[in-house]
C-alpha cells in the first residue's frame, strides 16, 4: 500500500524548517496569549446547570448581575439547554459558599428551576499546586524516558526521543494557546498521554534502526535510517489511523467535559506521528550516530528466546 523507498532523511531540512516555524508560532502564542487555563489551575467557581428548554442567557446574566456577580461569565455548554457559569476567585469571599449563592439567586429570580449538573470550586492554593504538580509530572516523565531510552539504546537516541517529545508538547500547547481552547486537568493528562504515544512511535522506529545497524551491511547511517523508517512506515500510519479513529469517536460522542482532552490527543497523535519520522531520527543522525554506537553485544537474545 505504501511506497517503500521514500527519502525521509533527505527531506529533513524541510522538516526542520516546518518544525521551527511551528515551534516559533507556538512559543510566540504561548508568550503573548498564554494558555486559557481552566479553574483547575486558576482557582474559582464553576456551576453547570441544565434546563428543560433552551436557556435565556441574557436573563441569566442580568439576574447574576443584580445579585452582585457582575464578573460571572455565562455561556452555553454543549447544548442550548445547558449553561455554564464561571466566577474568578473573588476578593472578600473566596470560599465554597459562592456556588450556593449563585444557585439561590438563579432559582429565586428564574421562572424555571435549574437542575444542577455540576459544581466545581477550586481554592487558589489548590490551583497553584495542581499547576506545579502538572509541570513536575511533565518534567519527571521526560527525565524517566531519557534514562530508560539511554539505558535500552544509547544516549543519542535518548536525546532524539526527548527532542521529539518536547517538540510535540510545545506544539500541542501552542495549538491550545492559539485557538484559546480551555486547558484543564484532563488536557494535561492528554498531553502526558501524547508523550506516551509519541514515544511509543519513536521507540518502534528506533528499535528497527538498531536492528538494521546490526544486520545490514550498508555503512551509511542515513541510508540505514531511511530503510528503517520505510519499513516501519505502514505500521506507524496504521496505528495512528486506528488511534485517531477512536479519538474522533471520543471527541464527537464523549461530551463537553472530555472534548478538549480528545482534541489534545488528536493534535498530539498527529504531531507525534510526524515527529517520530521527521524529528526523532534526524536528531539522532545529526548527533553523529555510527555503527559502533550500537555494536555492543547486548543480551537481547534472552528476550527473543522467551517469545511465545
Amino acid at each position: 500500500m505504501f511506497k517503500q523507498d521514500l527519502d525521509f532523511l533527505g527531506k529533513r531540512k524541510f522538516a526542520m524548517i516546518l518544525s521551527t516555524i511551528l515551534l516559533i508560532v507556538s512559543i510566540a502564542s504561548l508568550a503573548i496569549n498564554g494558555l486559557k487555563l481552566g479553574i483547575d489551575f486558576t482557582g474559582g467557581t464553576l456551576v453547570e446547570i441544565g434546563y428543560k428548554q433552551a436557556a435565556d442567557l441574557g436573563i441569566l446574566r442580568e439576574t447574576l448581575e443584580k445579585s452582585g456577580f457582575d464578573d460571572a461569565t455565562v455561556q452555553n455548554f454543549g447544548t442550548t439547554k445547558d449553561v455554564l457559569i464561571r466566577l474568578k476567585p473573588k476578593k472578600g469571599i473566596s470560599n465554597a459558599e459562592l456556588s450556593t449563592q449563585i444557585l439561590e439567586s438563579i432559582n429565586k429570580n428564574g421562572t424555571e428551576i435549574a437542575d444542577v449538573r455540576r459544581v466545581e470550586f477550586v481554592g487558589p492554593q489548590v490551583g497553584d499546586e495542581l499547576a506545579e504538580d502538572g509541570g513536575l509530572a511533565l518534567l519527571y516523565s521526560m527525565f524517566g524516558i531519557l534514562l530508560y531510552v539511554a539505558w535500552r539504546f544509547e544516549y543519542k537516541f535518548a536525546l532524539g526521543s526527548v527532542a521529539a517529545l518536547l517538540h510535540d508538547v510545545v506544539i500541542t500547547l501552542g495549538f491550545f494557546s492559539l485557538l484559546q481552547l480551555e486547558f484543564d486537568l484532563t488536557v494535561l493528562a492528554a498531553i502526558l498521554a501524547v508523550i506516551g504515544y509519541s514515544l511509543n512511535d519513536t521507540i518502534v522506529v528506533y528499535d528497527r534502526i538498531r536492528e538494521n545497524f546490526r544486520n545490514l551491511r550498508q555503512d551509511s547511517a542515513k541510508e540505514i535510517m531511511n530503510i528503517s523508517l520505510n519499513q516501519t512506515l505502514s505500521r506507524t500510519l496504521m496505528t495512528s489511523v486506528t488511534t485517531a479513529l477512536v479519538l474522533m469517536a471520543l471527541a464527537v460522542l464523549g461530551g463537553e467535559i472530555i472534548h478538549n482532552f480528545a482534541i489534545a490527543l488528536l493534535v498530539g497523535v498527529g504531531i507525534g506521528t510526524y515527529s517520530s519520522i521527521f524529528i526523532a531520527s534526524p536528531v539522532v543522525l545529526s548527533l553523529g550516530i555510527s555503527k559502533e554506537d550500537l555494536m555492543v553485544p547486548v543480551a537481547e537474545g534472552a528476550d527473543i528466546d522467551d517469545m511465545p
Binding site: 437542575d115 455540576r118 516523565s141
Partner: protein, 616 residues
C-alpha cells in the same frame, strides 16, 4: 513443531478468558434502589432491630426485593425508586436519632457471582453523582489554641508554686516572664520543665531574670497530628449523621482531608455541617462587677465582656464550667413554651463539674455561649489573607433554680433549624481546629448518567470503527486481532472490577485510547509477517519470525508508555489517576491478548498444516 502452542499455554489463555468473563459480568446487571441503615458509632445494630425494621416495612406494604443484615448494617433492596423513597421516609421517621438511614444504589449482582466475590466496577463521583470536598485544617488556629491553653497553665503554675513575677506577656507565640531574682528564675525553669514538658524554656539574652517560653517543635507536631486525627473522627461522625452510604474520608498530606459523598445532592447542607465549628460553653454570669465599666474598656479581673443576641452587654466569668467537648449526646426538642431547644447529656467529668457548680450557685444566673468560627478574608499590606473570625454570642441566660448535672436543656436558639443543626454538631463532636473547604466538585445525577452514556457510546463506536478498519485491512488476521481486542476489553473491565479501582470519565477515555493503541501490537506483528512473506519466507516461518521479531519492539514501546502512565498516577489527583489506572491496565492486558491471544488463534487456523497463502 512451528506455530503450535503446548496444551498448558492454550489452557492458560482460556482460563484467563473465562475468569475475565466471570469477573466482568457483574457490570451487566445494573443497580437496585435500596436503603441502607446503620447505627451511630457507639451502638451497633442488633438482629432484633433488624427484625423490627423488616416488620415496619412489611406493615407499610412495601415490596421488598431483598433484605440483608450483615456487619451490623441493614440493606434493603427494592424494585423501584418509589418504594425506596417511601421506605427511607418511613424509616427515618420511625428509627429516630440512633440509626442513620441512607439511600443507596446497591449493585444487583446475582448471588452466585457475589459468592465468587465478583462485583461491578466502582464508579467515581463524576459517573455516579455526588460531592467531593477537599478540606484544609487550619493548623495555625490549632497552635494558637494550644498556646492559649499553655499560657493559662503557666500562670496557674506560677501561682501554685507561689512564685511572684514582675511581668508576663505573650507575643508571637512566645511567653515572656520577667522574674524578681535568679532564685525565682531557676525555680520557674524547674517547674516548667517538669510539669509542662511540651514547652521549651530559654533564658533571655537581652534582659536579666527573664524567661522565654514557647511550644517545643515536638509538641507542635503532636498538636497538628492530634488536630487532624480529631477532625477526621469528628467529620466521620458528622458524615454518619448526614446519612451517606459508602462515604470516603481520607487524610491527604499533613493537613488535608478528602471527603467523598456519593449520591449526596444537597451540597449546601453538607457544606454547612462539615465546615461548622460551632460549639457551646457554659459560664457563670459575673454579678459582682459593673457591666458598664467593662463596656468603657476597664478590665475586670476574672471576667470578660460578652454581648447577648439582642446586643446587651453582659459580664461572664472567665472560667468555663463545661464545653462542647464534654457533651456526649444532644437532641432537638421543644421546651415547655414550645420554643426550639436542645436537650443535652454530659459525660461523667462534665456532669460532676456542672453538678458542683450549680449546687454552689443556686439562684445565680448562668449563660450559654454559642461559639462559631467564620472564614473571612481581609487585605493586609495589599495581600489577601484569610482568617477565622470567632463569633461568640450569648444565646441564653437563665437563673439556676436547682442543681443539675448530667441532663438538662438549653434554650434561646433562633429557630428549629438552628436547634437541629446545633444538636447534630454537638452529637458529632467539635472540630479540634477550624477547617476550610478548598476544593469542591459536585456532579449531579443527571450529568453522571450522561457521562456514563457518553463514555459507553464512545467506547462502542470507537471499537466498531477499529474493528471494521482492521478487518478490511488485515482480513483473517484482522478478525483475529479483533477477537483479541474484544477479549482485551473484557479483561480490562474484569481487572477494574476485581481491584475495585475507581472508574472515572477520564478513565473511560483511557479505555477508549487503549482500544486504539492495543491493536498497535498486532499491527507491528502483522507488518512483520508481511515483510517476511515479501522476503519469500514460507507462510509458517513468516508467522513464527513475525511474532518473534515484533516482541522486543512491543515490549520496549509499551514499557515506556507504562512509565508515563506511572508518572501520571503518581502526580495525578482523582480523575487523572483513573485515566492512569485504565491506561496501565490496558497496556498490560493488551500485551497479553494481542501477543498470546492472537497467537493461539493463529495457531489454530494455520498451525500444523500446510499453508500456501496467508489471509493478511
Amino acid at each position: 513443531m512451528q506455530n503450535h502452542f503446548p496444551l498448558w499455554k492454550n489452557l492458560m489463555i482460556l482460563i484467563v478468558f473465562v475468569i475475565g468473563i466471570i469477573y466482568a459480568s457483574p457490570n451487566l446487571f445494573g443497580n437496585d434502589p435500596s436503603v441502607q441503615l446503620a447505627s451511630s458509632a457507639t451502638i451497633k445494630l442488633k438482629q432484633k432491630q433488624a427484625d423490627v425494621i423488616k416488620a415496619e416495612l412489611d406493615k407499610a406494604g412495601l415490596n421488598i426485593k431483598e433484605f440483608e443484615f450483615n456487619n451490623n448494617k441493614v440493606l434493603v433492596r427494592f424494585n423501584n425508586i418509589d418504594d425506596q423513597l417511601k421506605a427511607s421516609d418511613l424509616l427515618k421517621a420511625k428509627m429516630g436519632n440512633d440509626v442513620t438511614v441512607a439511600l443507596n444504589l446497591a449493585p444487583a449482582t446475582p448471588t452466585w457471582l457475589r459468592a465468587l466475590n465478583a462485583s461491578p466496577m466502582y464508579l467515581g463521583l463524576d459517573l455516579r453523582g455526588g460531592v467531593h470536598f477537599l478540606l484544609e485544617v487550619d493548623m495555625d488556629a490549632a497552635i494558637k489554641q494550644a498556646e492559649e491553653r499553655y499560657n493559662l497553665d503557666v500562670k496557674a503554675g506560677l501561682r501554685s508554686h507561689k512564685i511572684r513575677y514582675k511581668s508576663i506577656s505573650k507575643n508571637n507565640g512566645i511567653i515572656k516572664i520577667t522574674l524578681k531574682n535568679s532564685v525565682d528564675s531557676i525555680a520557674t525553669q524547674d517547674f516548667l520543665n517538669s510539669d509542662l514538658s511540651g514547652l521549651t524554656v530559654k533564658e533571655s539574652s537581652e534582659a536579666e531574670n527573664t524567661l522565654l517560653v514557647s511550644l517545643s517543635r515536638q509538641e507542635k507536631l503532636e498538636i497538628k497530628k492530634f488536630a487532624l486525627d480529631q477532625n477526621m473522627t469528628t467529620l466521620r461522625n458528622r458524615v454518619n449523621e448526614i446519612g451517606v452510604a459508602e462515604p470516603v474520608i481520607q487524610q491527604q498530606g499533613d493537613n488535608r482531608i478528602v471527603i467523598q459523598l456519593p449520591g449526596v445532592q444537597d451540597t449546601t447542607k453538607a457544606k454547612a455541617i462539615l465546615g461548622k465549628t460551632a460549639t457551646l460553653e457554659y459560664r457563670l454570669v459575673d454579678v459582682e462587677h459593673d457591666v458598664q465599666k467593662a463596656v468603657q474598656g476597664l478590665p475586670v479581673i476574672g471576667s470578660r465582656l460578652y454581648y447577648e443576641v439582642d446586643g446587651n452587654p453582659i459580664l461572664l466569668k472567665r472560667r468555663v464550667i463545661v464545653t462542647g467537648a464534654e457533651i456526649v449526646d444532644a437532641a432537638y426538642t421543644m421546651d415547655q413554651n414550645n420554643a426550639p431547644a436542645v436537650s443535652i447529656t454530659l459525660n461523667g467529668i462534665g456532669a460532676k463539674k456542672m453538678g458542683k457548680m450549680t449546687q454552689k450557685n443556686v439562684g445565680k444566673p448562668m449563660a450559654v455561649v454559642f461559639i462559631e468560627y467564620k472564614s473571612k478574608t481581609r487585605t493586609v499590606n495589599g495581600k489577601k489573607e484569610k482568617y477565622k473570625e470567632k463569633v461568640e454570642k450569648v444565646i441564653s441566660v437563665a437563673t439556676i433554680r436547682d442543681s443539675f448535672s448530667k441532663r438538662f436543656q438549653t434554650t434561646g436558639l433562633d429557630n428549629a433549624e438552628e436547634a437541629r443543626t446545633l444538636s447534630l454538631l454537638l452529637r458529632a463532636g467539635a472540630l479540634a481546629a477550624p477547617v476550610d473547604i478548598i476544593e469542591e466538585r459536585t456532579v449531579g445525577p443527571s450529568l453522571g448518567q450522561d457521562n456514563i452514556d457518553k463514555g459507553f457510546n464512545s467506547v462502542i463506536v470507537g471499537l466498531i470503527l477499529v474493528l471494521v478498519f482492521m478487518l478490511i485491512y488485515y482480513r483473517l488476521f484482522g478478525l483475529v486481532a479483533n477477537i483479541a481486542l474484544a477479549f482485551n476489553l473484557v479483561v480490562i473491565v474484569a481487572v477494574l472490577s476485581m481491584i475495585q479501582a475507581t472508574l472515572t470519565l477520564p478513565g473511560i477515555a483511557g479505555i477508549v485510547l487503549t482500544v486504539g493503541m492495543a491493536v498497535d501490537a498486532n499491527v507491528l506483528i502483522f507488518e512483520r509477517i508481511k515483510e517476511e512473506l515479501k522476503n519469500n519466507n514460507t507462510p509458517q516461518s513468516s508467522i513464527f519470525v513475525g511474532y518473534e521479531k515484533a516482541f522486543a519492539t512491543i515490549f520496549d514501546a509499551n514499557i515506556t508508555t507504562l512509565l508515563v502512565a506511572l508518572v501520571l498516577f503518581g502526580f495525578g489527583t482523582g480523575a487523572i489517576k483513573g485515566f492512569a489506572i485504565t491506561l496501565s491496565i490496558g497496556i498490560l492486558s493488551s500485551m497479553f491478548t494481542s501477543i498470546l491471544g492472537t497467537r493461539m488463534l493463529i495457531n489454530w487456523f494455520y498451525g500444523n498444516r500446510r499453508v500456501k497463502k496467508l489471509s493478511i
